[in-house]
Amino acid sequence: MVVTAERTPLYEEHLRLGAQMTNFSGWVMPLQYSSIREEHRAVREAVGLFDLSHMGELRLTDDVLAQRVVSRDLGKLRPGRAQYAMLCNADGGIVDDVLVYAMADGSHLLVVNAGNQDSDFDWIRSHGDGAVLNVGRDWALLGVQGPHAVGLVQRLADQDVSALRYYAFAEGKVAGVTGIISRTGYTGEDGFEIFCANRDASRLWRTMLEEGRDDGIRPAGLGARDTLRLEAGLRLYGNDMDAATNPLEAGLDWTLSLDREFIGRDAILRARDKGLTRILVGLRMLDRSIPRHGYPVVNDGERIGVVTSGNVSFTLGYNIAMAYVPPTLADPGARVGVDVRGTAVPAEVVALPFYKRPHPK
């Protein structure tokens, strides 16, 4: 059987720009256009443009169902605001990490990982009736990220989007294209994510690249997206957490409203009371070796944990990783080793995130 990777509405744009394409979660996506290093730098210093149309979107019209499947209390989320939350299974394991948008009509929009959009949809439906719609393939999503992103989007917007607070959104037009303009991102920089209809995606993409020329805009691929999110300490589902990980282990306690019922809550409380056996930490490598997903973390010759994400930090100039270690070695300053091809390379536990932008809004 030949499984064909899905294409976003911007597929032809990526080919036209000479992107190196890769298969990611069943989607053929740009890995890089020129250089991951240069695209990373553009986002930190100017502005980068991402195609995020592979992400899934689910619309929940049943408030009770939404409250049951999402880890945070949506009763406190006002229309026009978004928040990061978990979907958990009955054992407290993470089904997916999502952004929840409270829409003006009272419904909730869940932005979910590309590879999980159909399984999330099925999973939510198994807990309710027909009150969930899978709209991911109808919508494109563009990320505009970096210190020049707000100025650029503002020049093209039909309203004052620079006044939007972080994790707030508005419905409106950018470059004449109707969509949702959201002050969110996955890079550690200020900027927007803009949802629009598939048919408008190319127009919005091309206008951004043209109008952003003086801002130093560059198209940025999944390679830079990964090195950027790692510096910002943002977890990647499937790498840093999965259905066998609970949110406490992943250091995501702040995404849980444990004073109310939701699926997985009881198991998470039990795990908390029992005491955690591992916790996700940041590691700073003390030499030049590159830590990678799956490398063992060692201490006194014993395997004590595992690296879940690792790479060079272009911004900081040293190598970084996220890894699971026992709670006894999870405090900043603790020393561990990372087994790189048989050598225990010294590393220091550091607080997450590794990188914080200079003047957050």
């Binding site: 190196q20 250089s35 030049r288 790479n311």
Partner: protein, 128 residues
């Protein structure tokens, strides 16, 4: 485009340029473009004897770690120390300042491709 006529190439995309019984080794333009941004190299020590086709070291790009293979037998006489601070030289100038090691006591490189044969080999690989 640098003059590649005096160079020989391996199936694992290393190049070698011999001068008498000494040789300079690097990776090809095709290899660097496939790897993407090089960020670290793990290289042998000076004095180490390397077999033809044996492991020369590890090259890491943002994407992945890959093994480097030695295209021709010899003894390591020099390692490009510049690459410690500037691994990106391998991307920017793979046949020039991105060279990787120098070997002494080199005898035979006749098993390797010449530039034309290597080009045909790469065409066949990337076309498949």
């Amino acid at each position: 485009m640098p003059d590649l006529s005096g160079m020989r190439f391996s199936q694992s995309h290393e190049w070698v340029k011999t001068d008498g019984d000494s040789a300079t080794v690097g990776i090809t333009e095709y290899a660097q473009s496939q790897l993407g941004d090089v960020i670290y190299l793990e290289l042998p020590n000076v004095g180490q004897t390397l077999e033809q086709g044996g492991k020369l070291g590890v090259i890491e790009s943002v994407k992945a770690a890959s093994d480097l293979y030695n295209p021709v037998a010899g003894q390591v006489s020099e390692v490009n120390q510049e690459l410690k601070e500037h691994p990106e030289y391998v991307n920017q100038d793979p046949y020039g300042k991105g060279w990787i090691i120098k070997l002494a006591g080199v005898k035979d490189n006749s098993a390797l491709f010449d530039a034309k044969a290597y080009d045909a080999f790469v065409q066949g690989q990337s076309g498949s």
